[in-house]
C-alpha cells in the first residue's frame, strides 16, 4: 500500500508543471461548482433575511401564498384583529408589500417595498445605520448601499411607488444580489396603490413556549381565506423557490465543472501514465501484479483530485472573504452539503479518469523492457 502511494506521489511530483496543470485544472473545475453553490446558498440566505429577521414567529398571507418573493398577497385588514384573537398570539403587525423599482437621482433598483403602520413592532429594518426605523407619512427608509450608490443620504429624496419621499433612515444588511428593501408608511403605500382596507401579511408573535407551527394551524382553522406558516416553514418555501429558479443554472454549471474536471484529471493521469509506461513495464518484469499498477494510476488520480479539492475550497473561501470585504451585495456561503457534493464529484472524476490509463497499463508487455530503445 505504501509503495502504491509513494509511486503515485513521486510520479505526480516528478513533473511540477504537469502537477500544477492537473491540480489547477481540477481546482478550477471544482471551484466553479463550489462557487456557484456558495452564491446560491448566499443569495438564498439573503433572500430569507427579511423573513428571518422581521421578528415574526408566524406569517399570515392570502390563502395559497406561501412565500414572499414575487408574490401578491392581499387580505382584508379586518383579518388582523381575527388573527390577534387566536390563542397563542401575543402581538400582530399588518404590513403591506409589493416588489417595485425605487429610484434616487439616476439610480434605480428593484426593492421589496414594505408599508409599515406607525405602531409596528415587527417587520421593521433590523439594523439602522443612520436615522430612524419607522417612516412616517412622506418618509422612507432605504438601504445604505442603495443610498451610497445613488449619492443620497438622510434628508435626500427617493421615489417609491411613484411618490417622492424624504429619506429618514438608512438600513444595513437589507440588500442582496437581486433586490433591496425600502420601508414607507402604510398610509403612503395605501395612497399610492389604492389598497385601503387591505394588508399583505399579518406578522404574528407567539406566546413563549407555544409552537409556531401549532399557532399557524390554529390561525388557518380560525381565520378563513388565509395561509399561515411558521417563520421556518415560510423561509423554507422561499429557499425552495430560489432553488427552483436557479436549479437549471446550477445543474448546467455542475455539469460543466464535472466535465472540465474529468477532462483535466483524465488527461493528466493519462499523460503521466504514458510517460512512465517503460517504468510500469519494468515493474511488471520485476514481478509487480497488474493490480498494483492499477492502484498506482488510481492513486495518482485521487491525489490530483484531493489537491484540487483542497485548492478549490481555499480559493472559494478566499473569494467569499474578498466579496465580503469589498462590500458587494452578494454573500458566498459554503455549506457542508455543497462540500460533500463536490467531494463526491471529485471521487467520481478520479475513478473515471483512471479507466483509460489502466487499459494502457494492462497492455504493457514486460518483455519489452529488454528491448533497448523500444518505444512503449
Amino acid at each position: 500500500m505504501a509503495a502504491t502511494w509513494v509511486m503515485a506521489r513521486r510520479s505526480l511530483t516528478a513533473n511540477w508543471l504537469r502537477l500544477l496543470a492537473s491540480v489547477g485544472g481540477v481546482a478550477l473545475a471544482l471551484s466553479l461548482v463550489l462557487a456557484l453553490d456558495a452564491i446560491v446558498a448566499g443569495v438564498s440566505s439573503q433572500l430569507t433575511s427579511y423573513i428571518d429577521r422581521a421578528g415574526a414567529d408566524v406569517w399570515v398571507a392570502q390563502a395559497g401564498v406561501r412565500n414572499l418573493h414575487m408574490v401578491a398577497s392581499w387580505l382584508p385588514a379586518s383579518d388582523t384583529a381575527d388573527v390577534a384573537g387566536v390563542k397563542g398570539v401575543v402581538a400582530v403587525t399588518p404590513i403591506l408589500y409589493v416588489t417595485d423599482a425605487i429610484s434616487a437621482n439616476d439610480q434605480r433598483a428593484i426593492a421589496y417595498v414594505i408599508g409599515l403602520p406607525g405602531d409596528a413592532t415587527m417587520g421593521l429594518p433590523w439594523e439602522i445605520a443612520e436615522g430612524k426605523a419607522i417612516p412616517g407619512p412622506g418618509e422612507a427608509v432605504v438601504g445604505r448601499d442603495f443610498a451610497r450608490q445613488a449619492g443620497v443620504g438622510i434628508g435626500g429624496r427617493v421615489t417609491i411607488l411613484g411618490r417622492d419621499l424624504r429619506i429618514v433612515g438608512l438600513s444595513e444588511g437589507t440588500g442582496n444580489l437581486l433586490n433591496g428593501i425600502a420601508f414607507i408608511s402604510a398610509n403612503d403605500f395605501e395612497a399610492a396603490r389604492g389598497s385601503a382596507g387591505l394588508v399583505s401579511f399579518v406578522l404574528v408573535r407567539t406566546a413563549p413556549g407555544t409552537s409556531p407551527d401549532a399557532v399557524a394551524s390554529a390561525i388557518e382553522r380560525t381565520v378563513p381565506g388565509v395561509s399561515a406558516l411558521s417563520r421556518g416553514a415560510f423561509a423554507a418555501e422561499e429557499r425552495r423557490l430560489v432553488m427552483q429558479m436557479a436549479g437549471d443554472v446550477i445543474a448546467t454549471m455542475n455539469g460543466v465543472g464535472f466535465v472540465v474536471g474529468l477532462a483535466v484529471v483524465a488527461l493528466t493521469v493519462y499523460v503521466a501514465t504514458l510517460a512512465r509506461r517503460r517504468e510500469y513495464g519494468v515493474l511488471k518484469a520485476l514481478g509487480a501484479r497488474a493490480r498494483f499498477l492499477y492502484a498506482v494510476v488510481l492513486a495518482q488520480a485521487v491525489l490530483s483530485v484531493l489537491l484540487g479539492f483542497a485548492t478549490a475550497v481555499v480559493f472559494t473561501s478566499a473569494v467569499a472573504a474578498v466579496v465580503h470585504a469589498v462590500g458587494l451585495p452578494l454573500a458566498l456561503v459554503i455549506d457542508v452539503s455543497s462540500l460533500l457534493k463536490v467531494a463526491a464529484f471529485g471521487a467520481v472524476i478520479a475513478a473515471i479518469a483512471s479507466i483509460l490509463p489502466i487499459r494502457q497499463v494492462a497492455g504493457i508487455d514486460p518483455a519489452v523492457v529488454f528491448r533497448r530503445g523500444a518505444v512503449l
Binding site: M7, R10, L283, A285, L286, A367, F370
Partner: protein
C-alpha cells in the same frame, strides 16, 4: 535462498505467421546449475534477448518448455508468473531501468514491498544491500544523480533484494567504462560463487568470458559450437577467427570484422 536449476528444453520462439513468420529462437536447450555463470554471446539479432526473456518467464515460448526445478514456467497461468519473477529471478538490464522518480533506496525497497515485505523492513533490507554494494552514501539520491556504475549497482541490489536463486543479466557492462565494467563483473562473480546463485548473462563483452563457467554462442536462434573469437582492434567487435579477415603486424595476427577495419588498421600508425 533455495538453490534451483533452470532448464530450457527445445525452446522455440516464432513471431508472426506464414511467410512473414520470423523464428527468433529455434530448438534451444540449456540447463543452468546452481552457482553456475553461463554467458550467452552472439551477433546482434541472434535471439539472445528473446531467449533471456523466455528464461525469465517474461515471454512464452512457441514450442518447448522452460522449467525451474521441474515446474514448467511456460505452462503456468499469467497470474502465477509475477510471484515467480519476484521471488525466484533477479533481473539486471543494460539500461539499468531504475525508476526515475524514486530514490536509490526506494528503487530497491519497492521490489521488496511487492514481494510482501512491510515498509520499514523493506527499507532496512534495501539499505543493507545497498550499503554492502558501496552505496550507503547514495541512499536518498535520485537515479539521475548517479554514475553509470552506481546505477548498475542499484540495479544489482534491486535484483538481489528478494534473495532470488537466479540472476538474469542483459548486457550488464555495456554502458560502463572498463574499470566499472570489471567492478560489475566482480560483483556478478561473487553473487554466483559466494552466494550460490545461478547467473545467466547475455553480452557482447568479451571480458565477461573471464568469469563465466560456460560460454554459449547463439547464432540465427540456435546454439552453435563454441568458436574461436577475436576482437577487431579497430572497432572492438567480436569476430569469428575462422571467417574473419586477418592481418599480421609486428609478428602478431589480428582479425577484423570487415575489410574496411583491416585497411584502417594497416594504414594506421604502427602499434607500440
Amino acid at each position: 535462498m533455495t538453490t534451483c536449476t533452470l532448464e530450457a528444453r527445445d525452446v522455440t520462439k516464432r513471431y508472426g505467421d506464414g511467410e512473414a513468420a520470423v523464428v527468433a529462437v529455434r530448438g534451444v536447450s540449456l540447463r543452468v546449475e546452481p552457482g553456475e555463470i553461463v554467458l550467452i554471446m552472439g551477433p546482434s539479432g541472434s535471439g539472445k534477448t528473446t531467449l533471456l526473456s523466455m528464461l525469465g518467464a517474461l515471454l512464452r515460448p512457441t514450442a518447448g518448455t522452460v522449467s525451474l526445478d521441474g515446474t514448467v514456467l511456460s505452462e503456468l497461468s499469467e497470474g502465477r508468473l509475477p510471484d515467480i519473477r519476484l521471488h525466484r529471478f533477479g533481473f539486471i538490464f543494460q539500461d539499468f531501468n531504475l525508476l526515475s522518480a524514486l530514490t536509490v533506496w526506494e528503487n530497491v525497497a519497492i521490489v521488496a514491498e511487492l514481494a510482501g515485505l512491510r515498509g520499514r523492513a523493506a527499507r532496512e533490507r534495501a539499505t543493507a544491500i545497498l550499503t554492502e554494494l558501496g552505496l550507503g552514501a547514495r541512499l536518498d539520491f535520485l537515479p539521475d544523480r548517479l554514475s553509470g556504475g552506481e546505477k548498475q549497482r542499484v540495479a544489482i541490489a534491486r535484483a538481489l533484494v528478494n534473495d532470488p536463486a537466479l540472476i538474469l543479466a542483459d548486457e550488464p557492462t555495456a554502458n560502463l567504462d572498463s574499470a566499472i565494467g570489471h567492478e560489475i563483473m566482480r560483483l556478478l562473480r561473487g553473487i554466483a560463487k559466494e552466494q550460490g546463485r545461478s547467473v545467466v548473462i547475455v553480452s557482447h563483452d568479451q571480458r565477461i568470458r573471464d568469469i563465466a563457467d560456460r560460454v554459449l554462442w547463439l547464432e540465427d536462434g540456435a546454439f552453435q559450437d563454441e568458436i574461436a573469437l577475436a576482437v577487431d582492434p579497430v572497432c572492438g567487435m567480436s569476430v569469428e577467427r575462422e571467417r574473419a579477415a586477418s592481418a599480421t603486424r609486428d609478428g602478431a595476427l589480428f582479425y577484423f570484422c570487415s575489410r574496411g577495419c583491416r585497411a584502417e588498421f594497416l594504414n594506421g600508425p604502427p602499434s607500440a
